[in-house]
């Protein structure tokens, strides 16, 4: 199952991807779905949900802030975590 971590700008998403990669967590950067972005336009990292807690810890430790995280359910809908 996949999760999404939302960032306020592409630079933050790119920086986060590097930090996660260094910790062996793979991620894939996508445009944030409009229904989630609120503010409109942004970038997110898609990761495996099993990695989410570890990813949050790494981001907190490395000082890369994120907006929120969502789980993508079987129907493809986003559930806020």
């Amino acid at each position: 199952m996949n999760c999404l971590i939302l960032f306020k700008s592409i630079t933050y998403a790119q920086n986060a991807a590097i930090k996660l990669k260094a910790a062996n967590i793979n991620s894939y950067m996508i445009r944030t779905p409009v229904s989630l972005s609120g503010g409109g336009c942004g970038y997110s990292l898609r990761i495996k949900c099993k990695d989410l807690e570890a990813a949050k810890k790494i981001l907190a430790k490395t000082g890369v802030s994120f907006i929120s995280a969502f789980r993508i359910n079987e129907q493809g809908k986003y559930c806020v975590i």
């Binding site: 700008s9 592409i10 630079t11 950067m29 445009r31 503010g39 409109g40 336009c41 942004g42 000082g63």
Partner: protein, 381 residues
């Protein structure tokens, strides 16, 4: 052709820079706007350059603090107007370029004033005393220091000025136009630095129209232009976070890709090796020129940067430059957009002839140029 005008822009550029620019023009689209492959490629190229610059200047974990600008002038305008947009007082060195003086003069209508910490070229102690006195007396809102003069190549005691600024909690702006790429600058060791401004097209060997603003503190963020950033689009207001606050509109993708290649070239050669090479060229030039009658070299034993000014007695600096240009040697005369520096050095009336070096210059080129200058001197007197 011999090119000794590298303080204006380095030339030629490393072949990898040209290749990176061409690749970007062929393969990259608008970064940070779409999610398709050409857009992502552009975004990756830009982020790679942010990381490379962040590593070079001692902030590897904070690529968002690297803001891309059009040049150092653009970066300096952002820096100065971020701190002084509502007025205030600045203390500046006697070696500031017009890219500092003119924004300050423009801000006079907002109530901005400034004082100049004057010193003679290469008088480091004198510069420090002047800064100390003015900072103590005036408690400015901002201090602006030209790290290495584009006119004489003299270095300001940035570390010591940083200590003074830090003790008064005064933000410092550093103009690293001539030092970035040839002098180690570690942002993390400068406590008071709010902004460090530099061109991408000089010592970093990038293409024209590139510059970097290192934002060391996030207390002063004032955008000069507002617009699309590819983030927070529903808001009518400019984002208040780095780097988006200062990067509205489509960036110079090909230029930044070239700059990334320039920084890689520099890292491969090492900043210290570049400095050493420039220093050996400087020594050779000083030695050669000092043997010519009627030459006045503005230098000292502490002079190590690859910028050298001289004059020939009674000859206009531009006349000397024209002669050298006619003989295939590219140098720069006049006031170098830095009349304040020339006032401090006593050369404002005639300007100076400036030689400035890059990694591509050789001692053989120095010898050939000295010979031409000698020939001019013989015909002139």
């Amino acid at each position: 052709m011999i090119y000794f005008d590298n303080a204006a822009t380095t030339f030629p550029k490393p072949p990898a820079v040209t290749e990176a620019v061409v690749k970007a023009l062929k393969e990259y689209a608008n970064p940070g706007r779409g999610g398709h492959i050409p857009s992502n490629k552009a975004a990756e190229a830009i982020f790679n350059c942010r990381i490379a610059a962040a590593e070079l200047f001692g902030i590897p974990s904070s690529p968002e603090k690297v803001v891309f600008t059009n040049n150092a002038t653009h970066a300096l305008n952002i820096a100065i107007k971020s701190i002084l947009n509502k007025g205030g007082h600045a203390v500046i060195s006697g070696y500031e370029h017009n890219s500092v003086i003119r924004p300050l003069e423009s801000l006079r209508k907002a109530g901005v004033t400034y004082s100049v910490a004057r010193s003679r070229p290469f008088d480091t102690e004198g510069a420090l005393v002047a800064f100390k006195e003015l900072i103590n007396k005036e408690k400015p809102d901002c201090v602006i220091v030209n790290h290495v003069s584009n006119v004489y190549g003299n270095e300001m005691p940035v570390k010591e000025i940083d200590e003074i600024c830090n003790s008064f909690n005064i933000p410092m702006i550093i103009d690293a136009s001539q030092s970035a790429g040839s002098t180690m600058i570690d942002e993390s060791k400068l406590k008071s630095a709010a902004y460090i401004c530099m061109p991408g097209h000089k010592g970093l060997y990038g293409p024209h129209g590139t510059g970097i603003l290192l934002c060391c503190k996030e207390d002063f963020l004032y955008s000069l232009i507002e617009g699309g950033t590819g983030s927070n689009s529903r808001s009518p207001f400019q984002p208040d976070y780095l780097p988006d606050v200062f990067e509205s509109g489509t960036p110079n993708v090909s230029g930044i890709a070239g700059l990334s290649a320039g920084i890689s070239f520099l890292k491969k050669n090492s900043v210290l090796a570049v400095k050493k090479h420039q220093n050996s060229l400087l020594k050779a030039a000083k030695e050669g020129l000092s043997a010519i009658k009627n030459v006045n070299i503005i230098s000292s034993d502490t002079h190590t940067h690859g910028v050298l000014s001289f004059n020939l007695k009674n000859a206009d600096s531009e006349t000397v430059c024209e002669y050298l240009s006619d003989n295939g040697i590219c140098v720069r005369g006049g006031l170098h957009c830095a009349p304040l520096a020339h006032e401090c050095g006593g050369t404002v009336e005639k300007g100076t002839v400036r030689l400035s070096f890059s990694v591509f210059n050789t001692e053989k080129e120095i010898a050939k140029s000295v010979e031409k200058i000698n020939r001019f001197a013989h015909s002139f007197y």
